[in-house]
């Protein structure tokens, strides 16, 4: 009988992962937000009654997944269990209790079986607008960045809070899409809840306790085994990033002990006056993601596997305090993996990839007709990626998102959303750092306003002053640049203008190389030449 029990619990674990995958798919198919539907900027998960994450959907991006793991605890702390009812849905976009900026809406739904609260479903998605200055780094405080929704009820016993919707409708630029996304988020949790009840009924279980304990104890054992295999000690690393108007230093020390893996951001620059600050919850999400990808990529994300990581920091740009502006927290947040992996590489020599472009090169474009012409206004969001760092046994991936898990969008679709023309989007030769294994190439993008139009764009770029560094003798990747086609230099952060008739030219950074360049195989060098990945002088 014990045997049968073991197998049934294994099967249900499998099913629980399928339940959250259905939850995520529902969100993906119904969301309005470009970043969700085209780029997969979302996450979904299931929790036990104490708010411990048991499973998360494979579909999703690390910044959301690991932050959401903690978010549910905040909901439990603020909404007493006696005022939770079947049919409720809770919401927030609090950057410090959700996923790091106001654009991300987190919804949590209590799951009741009969009268018993057995767990929670949570999901997060990036919505198109939250009012304020719009998505960009120019805010001086979170108050300028949009509407703040405290942890509250979106729906009580199935009744949606109409007051909240009315306030939202008046505060955001695209109310139909934003409110549509609120409904999509709530609906996806409902799908998860319904599937969970079906599963429990089929298995003859009253709640998630036994299954949850099984999942967490198995995961705990597996992750502790991995931890035991690591060397003990403390290692540190630091790096520079562009910042808004002056370089920002990031620093970390990681310490591996029997108790777990400690990460501390002491020594990192103070908070910025601009919206590039990172709430600790988000920095922690990416630190955990990077470390886990190296030491335990095959162990699922849940409360037990995340528990071995202890992240701390004094107040600074990676642990920004309210009311710091945090709108584009992803730019520096995406640098955190390179930062912590640089420290881990000292503990595990030869096992950790080189630095890469890291931050996505998102462009938010606000296009309008020129003063004397007819035309249309539109907001266009593009996701673009530079090169990934070379791996210990492989070249870096070119123009591929890392650490973010998002997709790019087809330019044919992008050009339908607004009056712009993308004239170029292709690999940037000679941008990968040389090495035994070459860094991934960046890309070159040229965007012009359509005839009779001009646009403003929000720059959210990095690795322009500080390129991705190589590892173990590998050279650094090419830094990025932002200019107009006539050569006028532009800033890496903040809203700027592109007049009619000009093109915005983005050169995305390449990844760093791994190992000495003279150890690169001849075949690989020849192939780089034939394909034009390198230019003569650089090979």
């Amino acid at each position: 009988m014990r045997d049968m029990d073991e197998i049934r619990l294994q099967v249900m674990w499998n099913r629980l992962i399928s339940v959250v995958e259905e939850q995520a798919m529902t969100l993906l198919r119904t969301a309005f937000s470009t970043s969700v539907r085209e780029a997969g900027d979302l996450s979904a998960g299931v929790y036990n009654a104490r708010g411990e994450m048991l499973a998360q959907a494979v579909t999703g991006t690390p910044g959301h997944v690991n932050t959401m793991a903690e978010a549910v605890m905040h909901f439990i702390a603020e909404i007493p269990s006696e005022s939770m009812y079947p049919g409720d849905t809770y919401v927030t976009n609090d950057p410090w209790k959700g996923t790091g900026h106001l654009h991300d809406i987190t919804m949590v739904t209590p799951s009741f079986k009969g009268d018993e609260l057995i767990g929670f479903f949570a999901c997060t998605a990036h919505v198109v607008d939250v009012g304020g200055r719009g998505f960009g780094a120019d805010g001086q405080s979170v108050y300028e960045e949009g509407i703040q929704i405290p942890i509250m009820k979106f729906a009580e016993r199935g009744e949606v809070n109409q007051d909240l919707l009315r306030i939202l409708r008046l505060n955001v630029r695209e109310p139909n899409q934003v409110i549509g996304d609120f409904h999509s988020l709530a609906a996806c949790n409902d799908v998860g809840h319904k599937r969970l009840l079906e599963m429990l009924d089929e298995a003859g279980l009253d709640n998630l306790e036994r299954l949850g304990a099984f999942i967490l104890s198995r995961t705990h054992t597996a992750i502790m085994e991995r931890l035991e295999a690591l060397p003990r000690g403390t290692w540190s690393n630091d790096m520079l990033t562009d910042g808004y108007d002056e370089p920002v230093k990031l620093a970390v020390s990681i310490s591996i002990s029997d108790g777990g893996l400690g990460v501390d951001f002491s020594g990192t620059a103070a908070m910025s006056r601009w919206g590039i600050n990172v709430p600790l919850i988000y920095a922690k999400a990416y630190a955990c993601y990077a470390l886990k990808s190296v030491i335990a990529p095959d162990i699922p994300n849940n409360a037990a596997s995340l528990a071995v990581f202890n992240v701390s920091s004094p107040t600074n740009i990676l642990n920004a305090e309210r009311p710091a502006p945090v709108s584009v927290r992803h730019v520096i947040g995406h640098m955190v993996p390179d930062l912590v992996l640089g420290a881990l590489a000292q503990a595990l020599p030869g096992k950790v990839l080189a630095e890469g472009a890291a931050a996505l090169w998102n462009v938010h474009i606000s296009a309008r007709p020129t003063a004397d012409s007819e035309g249309r206004r539109a907001e266009v969001l593009m996701f673009n990626s530079g090169g990934m760092g070379a791996r210990p046994t492989l070249d870096g991936l070119s123009a591929t998102a890392f650490p973010s898990g998002v997709h790019t969008m087809p330019i044919e679709a992008t050009e339908h959303t607004g009056p712009i023309v993308v004239w170029r989007k292709e690999l940037r030769p000679a941008s990968g750092g040389a090495g035994k294994y070459r860094g991934g190439l960046g890309q070159i993008i040229e965007i012009a306003p359509a005839d009779g139009h001009e646009f403003n764009f929000s720059a959210m770029f990095d690795r322009i002053t500080a390129p991705a560094r190589g590892r173990d003798g590998g050279q650094h990747g090419a830094p990025g640049s932002v200019t107009l086609d006539d050569g006028t230099p532009l800033r890496p952060k903040g809203w700027q203008h592109v007049p009619a008739g000009r093109r915005l030219v983005l050169q995305l950074p390449g990844g760093g190389g791994f190992g000495e360049p003279n150890e690169r195989s001849r075949e690989a060098c020849e192939s780089d030449q034939v394909k034009g990945y390198v230019t003569e002088d650089r090979s």
Binding site: I7, R29, F32, I411, Q443
Partner: protein
């Protein structure tokens, strides 16, 4: 009229070539090993066997319907022509940059599939069409003239042309082909013809794939026709395409990418035909073989179709790890779960099954052909689902000892389970994986799975179907006769059909009836032309618009009436869209604009209605003469289970579960919650005890 014809279906699969011949309603079939160096030889050999069995000569065959995995294999194994891609300046790397995404986020050593056409073979040319179909900059014709020389010099075997927004305005692609073809003698494929859909990565990749397999497929098809003629079979040959219709060999030679996935499409049509005969309006076809399982939804006797799919997945069947092909296709999900799928235990002590497969060589451990890893077949054997002395018609003697040894070593000992429990765990896990995939697939399509009737075929499906039904809450499952060569039989039932698609983004509020009528007229003309190549019968048209709320990225198919539209149809279309939306996602949304993205017209010839037969849910219980101990998943223990040979069963017999119905190629497991009722045509209906008809 059609049913009087003598029809031959030939399905070339990865391992076997299946031939099915229908002579006045009787089916003769055979299975041969696929001959890789000369695939047509397997067909010729098969034709000889079945015509001899039927007592006819090859000259008596009226029509040959052929499906083949050769195009798919050429893409998977990368042995197509040396191909050049001519593309818009600034977009040389579209097929290499893909979606800029890692399909597996935690694998830092991820390798992306290399582009089908390498960077040095991709040639950018200036000239640009805009998002409204207008010319933004002229095509650089002088550069094309020069390029033509380069293409000849470098000895390319095929050329693909893919320009931005060509699905809206093909002028530049057509002109480029014209210029190049003055000097280049190899076939040139253009994306506006092969796949006129928005989204450049998918469209470019599709035209590249088409060009890449074209010389090889054209060559094969002409060889096949010639050899068939030599043996006296001079009848027309038609090809089944991925969308589940027939096209002429000439069309197939020009657009061979349409042949990708044609074999599995035949399986779905086989199931659809059975659904039609038994009047099952919601059927789930479940085809499980040696390496994978495939599931397809069939509503109103029509297999579900999609506009795009992915072939040649390189990473555990992971979404995103293959090549996107945007052509109309019968939509199937494929899971790495077949009889040969290998079981193991991961670091959390979880049993994992597949997608690695032991294949037929060395095969499962129990085959005694040198396979050492435990597979689904080994687990099935241990649990008593297979008779070791009567497997594959007695051709392979199975060793229970080998199976137990492998299962114990790789699974049981790691989890402290005996080999019975470990075997049960393996089967439960694979059944669960299939059930999860089926469930997610139905959710994605806004359907409810427990309302479906399963139709199970392929060697391994009848062993797992009943348990799968239990997990999915499905009450009825039909296991047809001839399930082993299902695809080839499906070919015989395939209509002459073609689906023409075009992307045209338009908001519903600015619905322009005359523009839509013109576009649909073109699509109707295209689709009809392909169908007319094969039939003079009446043609039925289906019109579908792929629509969404403006701002969404996922379109849903909305069936529209096949007629001329007027401005007043706006309201009708809005209602149809909202109904579909509710069906998919539960509730419609107020406020956002609704828009059209892609239009489709499907044409197919009208098929005679088959004689409908009601499903028999009752039957008369019979006693099994022998029994053996078989593991019962519900009880979690072995129970005496009746063993009944399928060929002794008469229509109307009811076999009470638990029981096993054995036959030459496979066994049907009737788990304890089910009984089995034999239908008038010999099909087995698994019906949940106490389920209402």
């Amino acid at each position: 009229m059609v049913s009087h014809k003598i029809r031959l279906g030939a399905d070339i699969g990865g391992t076997f070539t299946d031939i099915a011949l229908e002579v006045h309603g009787t089916i003769y079939s055979t299975k041969l090993l696929t001959n890789y160096t000369a695939p047509e030889q397997s067909i010729l050999d098969g034709v000889e066997i079945v015509t001899r069995d039927a007592g006819i000569s090859p000259a008596d065959i009226d029509i040959i319907i052929h499906g083949t995995t050769l195009a798919t294999n050429a893409l998977i194994q990368r042995h197509g022509a040396k191909t050049a891609l001519v593309t818009t300046e600034g977009f040389r790397d579209v097929i290499e940059m893909r979606t800029e995404n890692r399909f597996e986020q935690y694998d830092l050593d991820l390798v992306l599939p290399p582009p089908l056409i390498s960077r040095e073979d991709r040639f950018p040319i200036a000239g640009r069409i805009g998002a409204q179909g207008q010319e933004l900059s002229p095509l650089d014709e002088a550069a094309l003239e020069e390029l033509a020389d380069t293409l000849v010099e470098r000895d390319y075997g095929a050329v693909a042309i893919g320009f931005i927004h060509s699905y809206l305005n093909p002028a530049h692609e057509e002109r480029a082909r014209e210029i190049l073809s003055r000097k280049v003698s190899v076939p040139i494929s253009i994306s506006a013809e092969v796949s006129p859909q928005m989204r450049e990565f998918e469209r470019f990749n599709t035209v590249c794939a088409n060009a890449y397999v074209r010389p090889q497929m054209a060559n094969y098809l002409s060889r096949l026709q010639a050899r068939l003629k030599e043996m006296g079979a001079g009848c027309p040959v038609f090809m089944i395409h991925s969308g589940g219709g027939l096209i002429s060999v000439e069309t197939a030679s020009e657009c061979p990418v349409r042949l990708v996935e044609s074999g599995p499409a035949g399986g779905a049509i086989f199931a659809a035909d059975i659904a039609n005969r038994f009047n099952i309006d919601q059927a789930l076809s479940y085809d499980m073989g040696g390496t994978t399982a495939k599931i397809c939804l069939i509503d109103d006797f029509q297999p579900q179709t999609a506009r795009t799919f992915e072939v040649a997945r390189t990473y555990r069947f992971c979404k995103g790890s293959g090549m996107p092909i945007s052509i109309p296709v019968i939509e199937m999900i494929e899971i790495g779960a077949g009889g040969g799928s290998i079981a193991s235990v991961d670091v959390m002590g979880r049993i994992q099954v597949g997608p690695e497969s032991a294949g037929s060589e060395p095969g499962p451990a129990c085959y005694q052909h040198g396979g050492e890893q435990p597979t689904i077949t080994d687990a099935d054997l241990i649990l008593g689902k297979l008779d070791p002395h009567n497997f594959a018609d007695g051709k392979i003697l199975l060793s229970i000892d080998n199976a137990r040894q492998a299962v114990s070593r790789d699974v049981g000992s790691k989890l402290d389970l005996d080999s019975d429990a470990a075997a049960f765990g393996i089967c439960e896990m694979v059944d669960e994986n299939m059930a999860n995939a089926a469930r997610v697939h139905t959710v994605e399509n806004g359907k409810t799975i427990d309302e479906y009737v399963m139709i199970a075929f392929g060697g391994a499906a009848p062993l797992h179907a009943a348990r799968l039904c239990e997990k999915l809450g499905i009450a009825r499952c039909l296991i047809p006769q001839g399930a082993g060569v299902g695809s080839a039989i499906g070919f015989l039932k395939t209509p002459f059909g073609y689906e023409a698609l075009a992307s045209r983004i338009m908001s519903l509020s600015s619905f322009n009836a005359s523009a839509v009528n013109a576009l649909l007229g073109d699509l109707r003309g295209t689709a009809e032309r392909f169908v007319r190549a094969g039939t003079d019968d009446r043609i039925l048209f289906e019109v579908t618009a792929y629509m969404r709320y403006a701002g969404q990225g996922w379109e849903i198919p909305v069936p529209l009436p096949n007629r001329e539209f007027t401005e007043s149809d706006k309201a009708t279309i809005e209602t149809l869209f909202r109904e579909r939306y509710v069906q998919f996602f539960g509730r419609a949304i107020e406020g956002p604009e609704i828009e059209f993205v892609t239009w489709s017209v499907k044409a197919q010839d009208e098929r005679p209605e088959p004689d409908k037969v009601a499903l028999d849910h009752e039957g008369t219980p019979i006693e099994a003469e022998t029994s053996r101990d078989v593991f019962d998943p519900v009880a979690g223990a072995y129970r005496p289970t009746g063993i009944v040979p399928r060929d002794t069963l008469q229509p109307g017999a009811r076999v009470i579960g638990p029981a096993i119905i054995v036959e030459r190629e496979t066994s049907t497991i009737v788990t304890s919650p089910f009984d089995a009722v034999v239908q008038s045509d010999g099909a087995i209906l698994l019906v949940r005890k106490g389920a209402a008809a």
